[in-house]
């Protein structure tokens, strides 16, 4: 089939070819705009316990770091964060439980990542800042034994806020739109294959084996354009 004919078939159902990607685009944008904000910061945690032995790969201080995520998501940590929030600032009216539910963390090696998930951007940032401030004390209180040298907690990425999955959102949007465009074109082609109606002059001529002497239809813009041509609304 000629490219021109393929395009004609697709354009006959342009509302499907373009409508589906448009719907997906709008839906994705709306969905992404309803995604919560995530405040994030990263810190290195150095626990100065030297138990390394030659030939022994075990690192007890790293095992201690396995507790990092549990401590950050604990009620105690949330209470510390809540006490850090100044009255009248965003997040200060949140309960400890609400703050606890918004906190999560993970670690890789000695680097811990703390996430604060809130629908409100200002609250997410305020809680992240407070968590960043109380983290050294909490680490030393719960992850270092009494009498041992203090752990060193250093922020390596300052708290920042972004939409959830913001980095991948653009890629997702483009891929979804392209897939929807392909699906729309496929549906239009399928509808054309199942459609027995005659549309174009060459289709009529080919189906009947007769010459098309004339197309006497008024142009599509005719009815709407009559008023415009006369300088008034139709």
């Amino acid at each position: 089939m000629e490219l021109k004919r393929v395009l004609a078939v697709l354009m006959r159902r342009w509302w499907l070819v373009f409508g589906l990607p448009l719907a997906v685009l709008v839906g994705t944008v709306l969905l992404s705009s309803s995604q919560p904000y995530v405040g994030t910061f990263r810190a290195s945690v150095l626990i100065p316990t030297d138990t390394e032995e030659t030939g022994n790969a075990e690192r007890p201080e790293l095992m201690v770091m396995d507790d990092f995520a549990q401590i950050v998501s604990s009620e105690s940590f949330a209470a510390n964060v809540a006490s850090r929030l100044q009255p009248g600032t965003p997040g200060s009216d949140l309960s400890v439980g609400e703050i606890q539910r918004s906190l999560s963390a993970d670690r890789r090696g000695r680097i811990g990542t703390v996430n604060v998930t809130r629908d409100d951007r200002a609250e997410a940032l305020a809680i992240a800042l407070a968590a960043n401030a109380v983290l050294p004390d909490v680490v030393n209180r719960y992850m270092v034994a009494q009498g041992e040298p203090r752990a060193t907690v250093q922020t390596i990425d300052q708290p920042s806020v972004a939409r959830l999955n913001a980095d991948s959102q653009t890629v997702i949007l483009v891929v979804q739109t392209l897939v929807a465009l392909a699906v729309g074109a496929g549906l239009a082609a399928l509808a054309a294959a199942l459609d027995e109606k005659l549309y174009a002059e060459d289709e009529v001529s080919a189906a009947l084996g007769l010459p098309v002497l004339a197309d006497v239809r008024a142009p599509r813009w005719g009815r709407a354009g009559r008023g415009w041509l006369r300088g008034q609304r139709a």
Binding site: L198, L210, V216, R230
Partner: protein, 246 residues
């Protein structure tokens, strides 16, 4: 058989005949310079030229009409596959008349609703149906003059439920013979083939049939059925015209 004309047709057919026969009306004055109307008029002039060329211009070898019977078309049946063609017939007849050809337009869509008929106020006058049913064989067929000096109209008359079933073949062929003797062109419009078979009864009495197809509405199977039925009835299809039935 003669086809005389009666007087003062516009009193009975003001909307269709007055407007489309070329006479200037209030509507024309209001739409003077309407590009759309002029464009459509040009398309009918092109259709007229194509029909006039049939039988005069050699067919293109291998073309879609290659091998079709050759012969000029003086009497033409206009019939739609699944759309009314009264307006197509009327505008085509007007195009012939505007070229100075004496043209008779016969509305043979006897079952059309009055608002779609070429004679919307037909109750005031007789038409083709009345003439076909008349017992008096010498009664002239009522053809009415129009605003154009070259165009006359035989309206459908009062709607007939049975169509042409009750009409004898000889009466119809006599009408066309008489019309052809007096007119340069005879344009007959019939009911859609998908609805009724009246056009099949008329097809063999005319020089050619023009099949109207509505793009986006007519299916290929319906169009092929209509073509085959017309040919089986002895009709000679000269070509296809694309219209939307408005």
């Amino acid at each position: 058989m003669t086809v005389p004309t009666t007087s003062d047709p516009r009193r009975a057919y003001p909307a269709s005949v007055g407007r489309l026969s070329g006479e200037r009306t209030d509507w024309d004055a209001a739409h003077e310079g309407d590009l759309v109307d002029r464009l459509v008029t040009e398309r009918y002039r092109a259709l007229r030229a194509a029909i006039e060329a049939i039988g005069r211009v050699p067919r293109a070898p291998g073309g879609p009409d290659d091998g079709a019977p050759v012969g000029e078309v003086h009497s033409l049946l206009v019939v739609g596959v699944d759309l009314p063609v009264a307006m197509v017939g009327l505008r085509l007849a007007t195009a012939f008349a505007q070229a100075g050809q004496e043209t008779l337009l016969v509305d043979a869509d006897l079952r059309a609703a009055r608002e779609r008929s070429l004679a919307p106020a037909a109750g005031a006058a007789s038409g083709l149906a009345d003439w076909l049913r008349a017992e008096d064989r010498d009664l002239p067929c009522p053809a009415y003059p129009t605003g154009s000096p070259h165009l006359a109209l035989v309206p459908a008359g009062r709607p007939v439920e049975a169509g042409f079933d009750t009409v004898r073949d000889d009466r119809w062929s006599a009408l066309l013979r008489g019309a052809r003797a007096e007119r340069d062109r005879v344009v007959v419009v019939a009911a859609p083939l998908a609805a009724v078979a009246d056009a099949l009864l008329l097809a063999r009495h005319v020089d050619g049939a023009l099949l109207a197809v509505a793009p986006g509405k007519t299916t290929s199977s319906a169009a092929v059925r209509a073509r085959d039925a017309l040919r089986a009835a002895g009709g000679r299809i000269v070509g296809v015209v694309l219209d939307d039935g408005r």
